[in-house]
């Protein structure tokens, strides 16, 4: 029983991170039709910003956390304006290539400034909590609660504010949204900034839990893609559901088989969904 609960906690921690990364992916895909390959490295960059600020300003994690979100949102603004806007009217595949270029440039930049070795960020809350035999490190609990908090805010933003509702409308029906006068450029910018902000949050939350290193974004990127495809590209609830299912698959198959099996299982699920239900379990844009 305790073992099962422990597994569930692990799934929740990993699932939360994937959920943040995947929500950003699906949001950008819904509005811009771009699979943002750079999302994983934006997550990595978020972790590095926390590391950098932490070593600069001592260790006030909360302060660093907030500043990281701001910085990453600004990075989103810059990347969307400078890299993606110019190709928004070009053939579709150009924006994929730009996303790959951004992926490489971010990783290259991080390696130039911080080197390729593993960095460690000290957790603000080092206690290990113990509920009747189920233990969880404080920071891991923080990942779950932080993600829950952010996702609630995101949901509120999308369902209740005018800008958020426009985003939702545009990802559901682009032509209709254009017809009622929603500005594509502004929506793209907004979606991209939210997306990088979410990646930054995920990086900042995860930095004290795992090591921080330049290649850390690749696995979350691929799993987030699998999650987004599983739930339906462009569908936010699908991305959330997919993230936890993928995290579950990963944790359980690593526990009972091996890590390579987990890669193949996650990937196999993604292909199976693509082949048999291309719009995802919850339906998305084809």
């Amino acid at each position: 029983m305790a073992e099962l609960l422990q597994q569930i906690l692990n799934i929740l921690v990993l699932g939360s991170i994937y959920c943040l990364v995947a929500s950003g992916l699906t949001l950008v895909y819904g509005i811009m039709n771009v699979p943002n390959f750079a999302q994983g490295n934006l997550y990595m960059a978020g972790a590095y910003v926390v590391f950098f600020l932490g070593s600069l300003f001592g260790i006030n994690y909360w302060f660093c956390f907030l500043v990281t979100i701001l910085i990453m949102t600004a990075v989103g603004l810059l990347v969307e304006r400078v890299c993606f806007r110019p190709v928004s009217n070009a053939p579709h595949v150009n924006s994929f290539v730009v996303a790959l270029g951004v992926l490489m440039a971010i990783e290259g930049l991080i390696v130039i400034f911080f080197g390729a070795d593993y960095k460690e960020v000290r957790a603000p809350w080092k206690r290990i909590l113990d509920f009747y035999g189920v233990t969880i490190a404080g920071q891991r609990l923080l990942v779950i609660l932080g993600t829950l908090f952010i996702m609630v805010i995101l949901q509120y933003f999308i369902k209740r504010t005018k800008a958020g509702m426009s985003l939702d409308a545009m990802s559901q029906n682009r032509e209709l949204a254009l017809m009622v006068g929603i500005n594509v450029n502004r929506m793209s910018l907004l979606a991209f900034m939210i997306s990088t902000g979410l990646a930054g949050v995920a990086g900042a939350l995860m930095a004290p839990v795992s090591f921080v290193y330049p290649a850390m974004g690749m696995t979350p990127l691929l799993i987030a893609f699998a999650a987004v495809i599983f739930g339906g590209m462009g569908n936010l609830s699908g991305a959330v559901l997919g993230s936890f299912i993928m995290a579950g698959t990963q944790v359980l198959s690593i526990q009972y088989f091996s890590s390579i099996f987990s890669d193949i299982a996650i990937f196999g699920m993604m292909i199976a969904v693509l082949l048999f239900r291309p719009k995802g379990i919850l339906g998305g844009r084809g």
């Binding site: 895909y29 039709n33 771009v34 699979p35 390959f37 890299c83 110019p86 190709v87 070009a90 579709h92 595949v93 150009n94 994929f96 290539v97 730009v98 790959l100 270029g101 951004v102 992926l103 490489m104 440039a105 971010i106 990783e107 290259g108 930049l109 390696v111 130039i112 390729a116 690749m218 691929l222 893609f225 699998a226 495809i229 590209m233 390579i260 890669d263 193949i264 990937f267 993604m270 292909i271 693509l274 082949l275 291309p278």
Partner: protein, 328 residues
């Protein structure tokens, strides 16, 4: 065909280029220069294979780095663990990569747009993970060392051996010329024309009765085999391979080089690697800076010069010579 092409400056430039490539070992004073040129030729093979499926067919495959590495590993394992002759291993690697290409191609090519790109990237990651996990066979993260070069070909009058760097250079150049010819004929064949049409509008092709899936699968397998054979030559030349040689980074770099040279262009497949590798050698770039430069170059090229250097030259050529006499 030659009669048709012989008038074009493109054809003359190509001949001049090939002659230049052929005399490089004679004019290169340092071994380093020859080495860099050989590396450029090897990258050209990877770019060329990507060009067939992406440049002609518009299918952006991110699995080609893995297929290149797979070819290298199949040869490396066969040569070091089983001591199999180069030429036999060369064929075996071609067949093996072709089969894997088929297995990757059939599910992925059913998908379009972003889905194809994501799935091929995923396949590359799985392929690299499998390679670095088969520690007994592949040496895991340490890779394989001491991979032998190509064996000698005994002839009736003399024996062709490939012990010197110069002879290996000519061997690689020989295969590159064959690959180029394959690419050239593919482009002009029925299947190549279908492929280009698929890039324009796949639904339309289907509506006129082209089996687009079959066309795409055939060319994907062909381009996989070329990538894999390039990998074999790479492994036999460099002598050491690590899982990095099968990672998606290889495919990304090839994409950068191809974009630099000009997506869909034959000359571009060598101009891209030439320019990018010379730049990074000129800057004495270590791997880290190279990653940044490549990423930046890719973004800048796609925004400002999506047709690459050959596209840029073609436009300039048109401006200089073809509008003359036409009052604007």
């Amino acid at each position: 065909m030659i009669a048709k092409a012989s008038l074009s400056p493109k054809f003359l430039f190509s001949i001049a280029g090939i002659v230049f490539l052929a005399i490089i070992p004679l004019i290169s004073t340092t071994g380093f220069f020859l080495h860099i040129t050989t590396v450029i030729l090897l990258w050209t093979m990877l770019c060329l294979s990507l060009n067939i499926i992406f440049g002609y067919g518009g299918q952006l495959s991110l699995a080609h780095g893995g297929l290149f590495g797979l070819g290298a590993y199949v040869y490396g394992v066969l040569a070091t663990k089983l001591g199999i002759n180069f030429w036999l291993a060369f064929l075996a690697a071609g067949v093996a990569v072709g089969i894997i290409g088929l297995l990757i191609g059939i599910p992925s090519l059913r998908l379009k747009g972003p889905y194809f790109v994501i799935v091929t990237l995923g396949f590359n990651i799985i392929l690299a993970a499998i390679i670095s996990n088969l520690t007994n066979l592949t040496g895991g993260v340490n890779g394989l060392i001491g991979i032998p070069g190509p064996g000698a070909i005994p002839g009736p009058f003399f024996t062709l051996d490939f012990n010197s760097k110069t002879s290996q250079y000519y061997l690689i150049l020989f295969f590159l010329l064959i690959f180029w010819l394959v690419m050239y004929f593919i482009r002009d064949s029925r299947i190549g024309k279908c492929l280009v049409a698929i890039k324009q509008d796949e639904d339309l092709c289907q509506s006129v009765g082209i089996n687009t899936m079959w066309v795409k699968v055939q060319t994907f397998v062909l381009s996989s085999v070329l990538a894999g054979l390039g990998g074999v030559l790479y492994a036999s030349y460099i002598g050491v391979i690590t899982p990095h040689d099968a990672s998606f980074h290889m495919g990304f770099d090839a994409l950068v080089y191809l974009t630099m040279g000009g997506i869909g262009s034959l000359v571009g497949t060598i101009l891209g690697p030439l320019i990018m590798i010379l730049i990074s050698e000129f800057l004495h770039a270590v791997v880290e800076i190279r990653l940044f430069i490549n990423g930046l170059a890719l973004v800048i090229l796609i925004i400002f010069m999506p047709q690459g250097i050959t596209g840029g030259i073609a436009q300039l050529w048109k401006k200089l010579f073809q509008t003359r006499g036409n009052p604007a």
